[in-house]
């Protein structure tokens, strides 16, 4: 394995990300901030939601924005690099195995997902005002959940980036990402679905459920959440599966 090439490519991706820092931050921050403001501030201040809803919302929003930013950071450049001109070959011709380029893309995406997830925490916390009780958080579980979530989002971005063409981006958003966001338990805990028994078990195929629940369990353990074993275990399995499929598809698409 040629680590020099690998790190050179990481630094290339870092360079490009730094150049697009402001637009990327706006893209990753605006939506979660508006969501936290409307759901966490407007609805609670007006008395339509209880103040404790903030505790449920914050971890969900973090899981959501990390997932989206990782998917975005990997999928969008890949889609354009696999266009007609096959810009990806600029990197494919570097002295490294093809699969490692896919791994590099995932690592770069993970870093971006982690950064934007960690930026959202203080920003959302400030937007929420007082009322979020983070006094009982579990740092180790939090770190593990963040890493697994970032890996899921970047590997998912890899998968999407090599499966979707430029013309289907809108479709991907409305058919894959929107249902995932809505049924990902980001705005409500999984236990809230008890009134919909079929849905409650159907959403278990959605990785975002484990991410949101895992964040709840590690940040605000007092609200209802899935046990850590389940969330960490499920995320780990999903990561392995998605990464394997993503790398396979990448190899297949990279070499015609």
């Amino acid at each position: 394995m040629n680590w020099k090439t690998f790190f050179a490519m990481l630094s290339r991706d870092g360079h490009v990300a730094r150049r697009n820092l402001i637009p990327t931050l706006l893209q990753n921050l605006l939506q979660p901030l508006l969501l936290t403001f409307v759901f966490g501030r407007v609805l609670t201040s007006s008395g339509m939601m209880s103040n404790s809803y903030k505790n449920i919302l914050l971890p969900g929003i973090m899981a959501l924005s990390m997932t989206l930013s990782g998917v975005w950071a990997v999928a969008m450049p890949l889609i354009s690099e696999f266009q007609f001109t096959k810009e990806i070959e600029d990197r494919l011709l570097a002295p490294m195995e093809t699969s490692w380029l896919a791994v590099e893309k995932v690592v770069a995406g993970m870093i971006q997902a982690l950064v934007s997830g960690l930026v959202v925490i203080p920003a959302a916390w400030i937007t929420l005002g007082h009322g979020v009780d983070l006094s009982q958080w579990h740092p180790a579980q939090f770190a593990a959940t963040c890493l697994l979530m970032a890996l899921f989002s970047a590997a998912g971005g890899l998968w999407m980036g090599v499966s979707v063409g430029q013309t289907q981006i809108g479709l991907m958003f409305s058919m894959v990402l929107t249902p995932m966001m809505m049924f990902g338990c980001a705005y409500y805990p999984w236990s809230a679905l008890s009134a919909f028994p079929v849905l409650k078990y159907a959403v278990l195929i959605n990785p975002l459920v484990y991410a949101s629940e895992g964040m709840r369990g590690s940040l605000v353990p007092l609200v209802p959440h899935m046990p850590a074993v389940v969330t960490v275990g499920a995320l780990l399995l999903i990561d392995i599966a998605v990464l394997t499929v993503g790398i396979r598809k990448f190899n297949h698409k990279a070499v015609s």
Partner: protein, 340 residues
């Protein structure tokens, strides 16, 4: 000094339907053998058993019309295309088994510029150097040299989105030379270049070759192959139809001159009459009112031909004389002109 290339019986079929690919040919990435019978996919045979040897330190040309299989051949040798069967070697390295080692030895100028659109011209070169493990100082120095050489210094810090086709082409060549590869591949390098830039390109290629590097280029320009290449392979429909030095290939055409004739109508005995004319080595009758005459002379044969055709009761409606060239060679082997 120099690295040679050997390819053995390469075959490439695009869009293979699952049956063969999935049955353990080693390419079972697809969704597997399902719904085989409902839809029969199109199969395009791009290469059909191509073998050739490219000598170390020479300039080798792959000549053929569009769609002949030139880019596929280059694609396989440069690890970008997976062969359906057959093997390719760059130096000692099997292209499929030792991809990373092969990539280190080669530089590729693709047919369409595949430059990194997220970077500036200078960054493209500097990062390329970094991918190949060059130190910070070295890659900056080399990037500056190449930008200067390809007259891109004044645009070095611009994003390449606004670059013209010619500038992108020059930058592609600079990038391919950045890591000083032993073998340089250029896929239709002069397509779309103005005559001046083309001459600059030829000069650059010769200069790089003089450093002992192997050059492989594809072209559908006869003059380019003729002036630049020391060895040639002519391919058409995925098969090598002739191979040798430009001189050898030209000498292999019967007679050398080709006269393409067209008559107002077909007449009996016309072809036999043409064959009997002095200096004619071969006559090929195409459609009824056409004939290709290979001969050792061109213009001087027109008089006798006119007389002979009139004697047979027909009129000559068109004559085209082609001097000995690779174009004639291509016509001889395929019956088609290169641009057809």
């Amino acid at each position: 000094m120099g690295i040679g290339i050997r390819i053995e019986n390469l075959r490439k079929v695009y869009d293979t339907p699952p049956p063969m690919a999935a049955r353990g040919m080693g390419f079972s990435f697809g969704p597997g053998p399902k719904k085989d019978k409902t839809k029969k996919k199109l199969e395009v045979v791009a290469l059909d058993g191509v073998s050739m040897e490219i000598g170390a330190g020479g300039i080798f040309g792959l000549l053929g019309p569009n769609g002949a299989g030139k880019s596929t051949t280059i694609g396989i040798i440069t690890t970008r295309t997976r062969p359906t069967s057959g093997r390719a070697f760059v130096g000692e390295h099997d292209v499929w088994a030792h991809q990373a080692a092969v990539k280190r030895l080669i530089g590729v100028v693709p047919q369409r510029p595949n430059l990194d659109f997220a970077l500036t011209a200078r960054e493209i070169l500097v990062f390329h150097g970094a991918y190949f493990g060059q130190g910070a100082k070295e890659r900056i120095r080399r990037a500056d040299e190449l930008l200067e050489k390809f007259k891109l210094t004044d645009r070095a810090d611009h994003m390449i989105r606004g670059f013209s086709g010619g500038m992108m082409q020059r930058l592609s060549i600079a990038r391919a030379m950045m890591h000083d590869p032993e073998v340089l591949f250029l896929d239709e390098p002069s397509a779309g270049l103005d005559p001046q830039t083309r001459l600059l390109l030829w000069e650059t290629i010769r200069e790089y070759n003089q450093k002992g590097k192997t050059i492989v280029l594809t072209t559908h320009y006869m003059d380019e192959a003729d002036t630049l290449c020391e060895n040639l392979a002519i391919i058409d429909h995925g098969k090598v139809i002739a191979q040798g030095t430009p001189q050898e290939l030209k000498a292999s055409i019967p007679g050398g001159y080709l006269l393409r004739l067209r008559f107002d109508h077909a007449a009996n005995g016309l072809i036999d009459g043409l064959k009997s004319l002095p200096g004619v080595t071969e006559v090929r009758a195409g459609e009824a009112d056409k004939a290709d005459v290979y001969a050792d002379r061109g213009g001087p044969l027109i008089g006798p031909i006119v007389a002979m055709v009139q004697g047979a009761g027909a009129e000559l409606s068109d004559v085209h004389i082609i001097e000995p060239s690779l174009e004639t060679l291509f016509l001889h082997h395929t019956g088609r002109s290169l641009r057809d």
